[in-house]
């Protein structure tokens, strides 16, 4: 830094020790430099003062957790849905497969016991699927038909779990107290009767997991710890 730059760096509190002392001595001995530092301090405080009220303005930040996460994902699906023009809702397009018409009928609904519900425009796990995602560890043998596969943190830091449930596999991510269904895939026809495929084996599900995962999937201990922490 040249002498001028040193002066300004001193003014900004960027100098330390001996360097700072030297500039301070130089300024103390020079009325012109004193005036200059006063002038800069005053004008620069004024400039800050004009920009600072922006900090207080009631302009809330955009939010991405609740809507946009799925929206990005849904864009592609929306296009596919339009192309297919079945008039199906977005979630159905997400599970783009020949079997979806049949499977979704038994899967998604607001009748009691349906494992996936549409709530406030979102698809969330319900009934047995919700309970399994809340409580079941991947290692659990269990008698229920739901199998939980991978548990991991996504790129936003939320916890997601992949699952299979009676002919479907999918991915659900924690949102508040819900498990929001982020992807749903029907097993290929003919494999639905005894669908015991480990979650993640469906290539579409694997691709979705790949897209979302940050780091490695949880091991058994991390999975248990996450459950103890209510999947936060």
């Amino acid at each position: 830094m040249n002498e001028e730059e040193l002066f300004y760096a001193w003014l900004d509190g960027e100098l330390e020790g001996k360097e700072a002392e030297q500039v301070a001595a130089r300024v103390a001995a020079d009325p012109a430099l004193q005036a200059k530092s006063e002038q800069h301090r005053r004008v620069e405080a004024q400039i800050r003062g004009t920009f600072d009220p922006i900090l207080q303005e009631p302009a809330p930040p955009p939010q991405f957790s609740s809507v946009n996460v799925l929206d990005f994902q849904a864009k592609r699906s929306e296009r596919e849905a339009r192309r297919a023009s079945f008039g199906l809702p977005q979630w159905a397009a997400m599970a783009a497969t020949l079997a979806i018409g049949i499977v979704a009928g038994q899967f998604v609904g607001n009748r009691s016991g349906a494992p996936i519900e549409s709530r406030d425009g979102r698809l969330v796990a319900a009934a047995s699927l919700d309970r399994a995602l809340d409580a079941q560890l991947a290692s659990a043998e269990g008698n229920g038909r739901v199998r939980v596969g991978l548990t991991f943190r996504d790129r936003n830091g939320g916890i997601c779990r992949s699952f299979t449930d009676d002919g479907m596999s999918g991915l659900a991510c924690r949102e508040g107290q819900d498990w929001r269904v982020e992807g749903l895939f029907a097993a290929p026809l003919g494999q639905q009767g005894d669908y015991r495929m480990a979650a993640g084996e469906d290539p579409r599900l694997a691709a979705l997991v790949d897209e979302r995962i940050s780091g490695e999937p949880f091991d058994a201990a991390a999975e248990q710890a996450a459950r103890d922490a209510d999947w936060r």
Binding site: Q39, E44, I47, F51, I54, A59, P62, N68, N156
Partner: protein, 165 residues
């Protein structure tokens, strides 16, 4: 019912400062709000590239600056809205500004606009936001000496425009 995800919390914490930075870079309020919004979206989409443990504010300010540079470039490619290239040379010759002690936001933004881009961003980061020289150098990916000399020129120009002479 929806608990905020880390990105939203990080963004919320830095949002007022990010807006202020956008106002310091941009020409007017509409541009500034667009800039802040676009920055937030870009940051969200590339949040997986953010290294936990490093400063989120530096990271998102850097994105903001990149978005702004892209905006200016695409505008000047279209030939619209570009700042006159002689703006830097004409600093200090505004007869109306030097006499008034109090300045408002419009005047301060106008003065900032008359700085060359590379001085404006340094002034915005250091004098307005309060980043240190080193953090600023990291955000801008410039040597600290470059930051320091741009800051000297930028603040001298501002003083000439807004100071009492």
């Amino acid at each position: 019912m929806t608990s905020p995800l880390p990105f939203d919390s990080e963004l919320a914490a830095v949002w007022p400062r990010l807006r202020r930075f956008a106002y310091a870079l941009a020409r007017d309020a509409a541009d500034a709000d667009d800039l802040a919004q676009t920055t937030a979206e870009k940051a969200f989409k590339s949040f997986d590239q953010f290294h936990a443990g490093t400063r989120f504010d530096s990271w998102i300010f850097r994105i903001c600056r990149t978005v702004w540079i892209d905006t200016i470039r695409s505008r000047s490619r279209r030939g619209a809205h570009e700042a006159p290239p002689e703006a830097a040379e004409s600093l200090g010759h505004d007869p109306t500004s030097a006499t008034e002690a109090a300045i408002d936001l419009g005047k301060a933004m106008a003065a900032m606009q008359r700085l060359p881009e590379e001085q404006r961003e340094v002034v915005a980061l250091i004098l307005i936001d309060g980043f240190g020289y080193r953090e600023t150098a990291e955000i801008l990916d410039q040597p600290i000496g470059t930051v320091s000399s741009r800051l000297v020129r930028g603040r001298q120009a501002l003083l000439a425009m807004l100071g009492e002479g």
